[in-house]
């Protein structure tokens, strides 16, 4: 569990005059569940999209190539006219997985969607689509998985099933980074939290350490702590 699965050093991203990320550095262990939190425009999606290889950073480095980082975008990136199995098979071939058929079978098993394998994506619920979305990110068995707000638009039941699946992946050694607006998810599922605001990494530690940093009790309200933490940082 101590091997560093991912190392990010001095990452910066500029869009013209605007700095979306400023000198962000962190590491993630194998099997670690890392939450990336922050207000809108903090740079969460920019950070994850750089890790996934969607954007080239203005400065800094990422230890993993895009092919080693499984990417799960916020909106399911799937073909709605194809079936679950066809979507998985297509991306398995594009990812050049050694045995695409075996990979499809494995993902159908893991997502619990075997009985829906022949259904077109357009007929699936939002939760099931998101499960396929995550499964595609895992097809090549990447050591690192980056998920951009994976539980958005899911109902509590679907969310619970999704997190159970993601925690299972982490337990098997996949390093998982996920962005979220739901700070309760950070408290409940993340081993570590990266707090971003205005492109800066303000905090890197466990949720418990975050509560302490925010001056709250260990069983205090995480959301309240998060808001007061950001307010205090802005006032400095």
């Amino acid at each position: 569990m101590n091997a560093k699965a991912l190392a990010v050093a001095n990452l910066a991203m500029r869009y013209g005059e605007r700095e979306a990320l400023r000198d962000v550095s962190f590491e993630a262990d194998a099997g670690e569940l890392v939450a990336v939190v922050g207000p809108n425009g903090a740079g969460k999606t920019t950070l994850l999209s750089i890790l996934a290889g969607l954007q080239r950073p203005s400065a800094g480095s990422v230890s993993r190539a895009p092919g080693e980082v499984g990417w799960v975008p916020q909106q399911p990136a799937l073909y709605s006219k194809l079936t679950v199995a066809e979507n998985l098979a297509l991306f398995a071939r594009l990812e050049r997985v050694a045995d695409p058929d075996a990979a499809v079978e494995e993902m159908l098993e893991q997502t619990g969607l075997r009985d829906r394998a022949s259904d077109q994506l357009s007929r699936l619920s939002g939760g099931n689509r998101q499960r396929v979305n995550v499964a595609i990110g895992l097809l090549s068995r990447p050591p690192v998985l980056a998920l951009d707000e994976p539980s958005t638009a899911l109902d509590p039941g679907q969310r619970e099933r999704l997190w159970s699946f993601i925690r299972g992946l982490a337990a098997e050694g996949t390093s998982v980074l996920f962005s979220t607006h739901d700070v309760a998810e950070v408290q409940r599922y993340a081993a570590r939290a990266l707090v971003l605001a205005d492109g800066r990494l303000l905090f890197d530690g466990t949720p418990t350490e975050f509560l302490a940093e925010a001056g709250r009790d260990l069983d205090g309200d995480f959301e309240d702590a998060f808001v007061s933490f950001l307010r205090a940082r802005r006032q400095r």
Partner: protein
């Protein structure tokens, strides 16, 4: 690339209505445009009221012409509806049964025969500006032809009369003396008489008469030629500078096929690229392709664009060739030129595919891409068909510039050269298309820099 191609074909197979519309709509539009181009304007229905007495004849230059023959000649260019009275003709116009009416007045024969007073026809018409213009131009053209016919008859009669004056003989005119001496014979007769005349006032008078007769005979001979020139002052000799003359129907076939090919190539390519963005898959497919961290890249932008362009181009090519071959069964096309058709169709399809992917790369969703492709297609087709001289110089130059940077005109020229041997030649058009493929391919690549 093969996996992506298979996926696109699978999606197309599951979108049968879209594919049917994609093929049927452009083919229908193309055939309509082709039909409109290949056929001249329909003859307007015109009521004809002939008020002259039955069998009335016009005497022109000693010739007699039946007024009914004149009327039928006059109305050859319209769909003539014989009508008994002027009032009935007016009623037909008001009911929309005919577009116009022409009244041939009772006194037309007398006026034409008088050689001094001009004959008049009355034209009554109604309808919108377009219909009025159609009737006016048809009748003006018919009248111009009829007037030309009359003037030729007058010239012919005058030339005959001059010929008789020069040659002599029987003039055929009632009351004229028989076996008259011809003006052309007089100089030689006078010379013989003068030769036997002693010098004196009589001989001098005869010599003056000889000079006049010689001058008059020479000038009358010349006036026959002058009359012929006056009857048809401008004779037309046509010469095509490049290629060979293209029949209108085979050109219409080329236009119809090019339009179909453009619609299919453009809409399919634009839709296929835009679908990747609409399904949010673009980022997943292309991630890493521009980050310098190339390991694990699923697809490069070039591969994605090439696959979409090729798919659209192949579909457009197949439909366009089937259409050309199908129409070729009914229109006389030179089948020995099929390899050239294939070359023109293939490169045109690729150019349309390249333009399509550049549209798709810029649009955020399939509907926007399809609408943009559709909105671009029709104006491009119409601009490419604007003939030089039909608009002002500046506007034509602007139209030519726009047509030059989009593939429709180049495709039309390539196909026209391949099918009809028209100019500019096929190689120039193929090079033009190849340049456009590269240009729009590069533009599409820029459009795909945005992955969201």
């Amino acid at each position: 690339m093969i996996s992506l191609l298979r996926k696109d074909i699978l999606i197309l197979r599951r979108s049968r209505l879209t594919v049917a519309l994609l093929v049927l709509y452009p083919v229908a539009i193309a055939l309509l445009i082709g039909l409109a181009l290949s056929r001249g304007p329909a003859k307007p229905r015109v009521a004809v009221v002939n008020e002259t007495a039955p069998g009335a004849r016009v005497e022109v230059g000693g010739r007699s012409v039946d007024v009914s023959d004149y009327a039928s000649q006059l109305f050859d260019q319209v769909d003539a509806v014989p009508t008994a009275t002027r009032a009935q003709a007016v009623a037909k116009i008001q009911s929309g049964d005919v577009l116009a009416a022409v009244v041939i007045p009772r006194d037309i024969a007398a006026r034409l025969s008088s050689d001094v007073s001009q004959a008049h026809l009355e034209v009554l018409y109604n309808g919108n500006a377009l219909e009025q213009s159609l009737v006016q131009s048809s009748l003006n053209s018919a009248l111009a032809q009829a007037n030309l016919g009359f003037s030729e008859q007058i010239q012919h009669a005058a030339a005959q009369a001059i010929g008789l004056l020069l040659k002599g003989g029987n003039l055929g005119v009632l009351g004229a003396p028989r076996n008259l001496v011809g003006l052309g014979e007089i100089p030689s007769l006078l010379r013989r008489v003068i030769a036997h005349q002693p010098p004196g006032p009589d001989r001098a008078a005869l010599e003056r008469t000889l000079a006049f007769a010689t001058f008059a005979a020479e000038n009358l001979t010349l006036s026959k030629t002058v009359l012929q020139t006056i009857s048809q002052p401008i004779a037309v000799h046509t010469k095509l500078l490049h290629g060979r003359r293209t029949p209108l129907d085979t050109f219409a076939v080329v236009v119809a096929v090019a339009i179909s090919e453009m619609f299919i190539g453009l809409l399919l390519a634009a839709g296929a690229v835009a679908l990747e963005r609409e399904e949010h898959v673009l980022g997943r497919l292309l991630r890493g392709s521009s980050t310098g961290r190339a390991r694990g890249v699923l697809l490069s932008r070039n591969t994605l664009l090439a696959e979409k362009s090729l798919l659209a181009a192949v579909c457009a090519f197949v439909v366009a060739f089937a259409m050309l071959a199908g129409i070729g069964a009914f229109v006389g096309l030179d089948w020995s030129r099929v390899p050239l058709w294939l070359a023109a169709l293939a490169l045109a399809a690729l150019a349309f595919g390249a333009l399509g992917v550049s549209i798709g790369a810029l649009a955020r969703e399939v509907r926007a891409a399809s609408l943009l492709a559709f909105l671009l297609s029709l104006p491009l087709a119409f601009l490419a068909l604007v003939p030089s001289g039909s608009v002002g110089h500046g506007l034509y130059d602007a139209i030519s510039a726009v047509s030059f940077v989009f593939p429709f005109k180049a495709a039309l020229e390539a196909l026209d050269a391949a099918v009809n041997q028209s100019s500019p030649g096929l190689p120039i058009s193929l090079v033009h298309l190849a340049v456009l493929v590269a240009l729009f391919g590069a533009l599409a690549r820029v459009g795909l820099r945005r992955l969201d």
